[in-house]
């Protein structure tokens, strides 16, 4: 059986690479993300209530809501967790590919390892679709509601906005450069369904991606990414984001060289799980909000 929601929230770390990497993005959205951890603490912070009997009632109801699979909260968590572990495997593949480029002896790895850039474009697009599908699961709207998601994106705040900031920076700007949006769009336009099928990130979550078959899912991913591209480029431009200034803010705990940003991206990929971390925080917040309304 999966872990109770209160344990998941209580076990969220207050330090480590994931938390440090997210804190490094505070310069983009100052004060927006507080790394809220602890189940009771979440209830108190979200509702402002201090009465222990009220907190107990809210927590009990939130636990019950989470455990009812029909409510979608567990599916959302599964998505956040799975896309994280998928990206860890991808990270290993991407690193192997890097070695392949440097050392000729290992050059044959190119044949079985996707090109780092292609793998990254798929990874980024799949993560974005996971955000969309998880959003729909948590908020109770149909899973292909790109329009609803776009509407809500403008209102994203706290850990949800931080997750999107990290997506743009760690999965877009750093590994793919300033034209990451174009790279994903053109990459998907020329991609065959077979290529998508070979991708670990896609495979791990494909059962929950709308579209019917791989071709349809590819189109859904492309359509979703295209729809959100305006928001993403607006985010990058309005905050003057570049791969360099994002990397610079990471340099307090990672030794970064400007010409090694692809290594930095691969390192972040295998060593952090910001999607799962902030995903649990989003989930806890939504559960508490609903529970607090229903008691």
């Amino acid at each position: 059986m999966s872990k109770p929601i209160f344990e998941l929230v209580n076990e969220l770390p207050t330090g480590g690479l994931t938390v440090m990497s997210l804190r490094s993005l505070d310069f983009i959205i100052p004060g927006e993300w507080q790394n809220l951890v602890g189940f009771d603490n979440t209830i108190r912070t979200v509702t402002g209530e201090t009465d222990e009997s009220i907190i107990q009632q809210i927590g009990d109801r939130a636990v019950t809501l989470y455990n009812d699979k029909s409510q979608g909260y567990q599916t959302a968590l599964w998505l956040y967790q799975t896309v994280t572990s998928g990206s860890k495997l991808l990270g290993t593949a991407a690193l192997a590919n890097k070695i392949g480029e440097k050392v000729s002896l290992l050059g044959f790895l190119d044949k079985i390892t996707p090109k780092a850039e292609k793998a990254q474009t798929i990874d980024l697009a799949v993560k974005l679709v996971v955000e969309l599908v998880a959003f729909c699961q948590i908020n109770g709207i149909p899973g292909d509601s790109i329009g609803d998601f776009l509407g809500a994106l403008g209102d994203y705040s706290g850990e949800s906005l931080m997750r999107m900031a990290a997506l743009v920076c760690f999965d877009g700007l750093i590994p793919l450069g300033p034209d990451f949006i174009q790279k994903v769009l053109s990459g998907f336009n020329t991609m065959s369904p077979q290529e998508l099928q070979q991708n670990q990130s896609f495979n791990s979550v494909k059962d929950l991606i709308p579209g019917g078959n791989t071709e349809g899912q590819k189109n859904f991913i492309l359509q979703s990414f295209d729809s959100v591209s305006g928001w993403m480029s607006g985010f990058v431009n309005s905050h003057n984001l570049t791969p360099q200034n994002v990397a610079q803010n990471l340099s307090s705990f990672i030794d970064v060289a400007d010409d090694k940003l692809d290594y930095l991206a691969a390192f972040l990929d295998v060593s952090t799980n910001y999607y799962e971390h902030t995903g649990i925080q989003t989930l806890a917040r939504r559960l508490v909000e609903r529970a607090s309304a229903e008691i």
């Binding site: 402002g48 209530e49 107990q56 019950t64 607090s292 008691i295």
Partner: protein, 170 residues
């Protein structure tokens, strides 16, 4: 005493010590363990019963944006709908309608309060919530999310719902 003998004695000793330490480290059960047990396993109580009203049916009875306030959709599930109330881009309150078929104990507070708003039984919940019970079934609630949003604001916003419309859903 040779080395092998020491090893023979040491191994069970260390194992025992490990067990002792790990058993002491076991945490006290969570205050939510009872709810966890009741909502998992074969005889689990579902969080939402199938007779409850669809959240989408509540939408049109929510207050509209106006007077410097924005009403923004947040969650919509079976038996539940929620909107955020924003002012100057900041969350000031949460507006919700829920079906108490899923939370029967939520009705108790209305019996003991003796308070009414717009003719419906009303109650305060904690320090930030005020609610009315419509048609003895639907809980309409406003919760402050900013200190500037007072109890009288909550009461005023409760009256901006189409409470009669909600009552007719039953």
């Amino acid at each position: 005493m040779n080395f092998a003998k020491i090893q023979r004695i040491l191994a069970p000793f260390l194992l025992g010590l490990l067990l002792l330490v790990s058993s002491c480290a076991t945490q006290a059960p969570s205050r939510y363990q009872q709810a966890q047990n009741a909502s998992t396993g074969r005889n689990a109580t579902p969080a939402v019963v199938k007779e409850s009203t669809q959240g989408s049916q509540f939408n049109k009875y929510f207050p509209k944006s106006g007077g410097g306030y924005q009403v923004v959709p947040a969650q919509e599930k079976k038996g539940f709908a929620e909107y955020k109330l924003k002012k100057d881009g900041k969350d000031v309150a949460v507006l919700s309608v829920s079906d108490t078929l899923n939370t029967p104990t939520a009705k108790q507070k209305f019996q003991s309060s003796g308070k009414t708003i717009a003719g419906y039984p009303a109650a305060n919940i904690g320090s930030n919530g005020t609610a009315v019970l419509v048609a003895d079934r639907y809980q309409v609630k406003v919760q402050s999310r900013d200190p500037s949003f007072s109890q009288s604001d909550r009461e005023a916003w409760l009256q901006k719902f189409n409470l009669r419309g909600i009552a007719a859903l039953k």
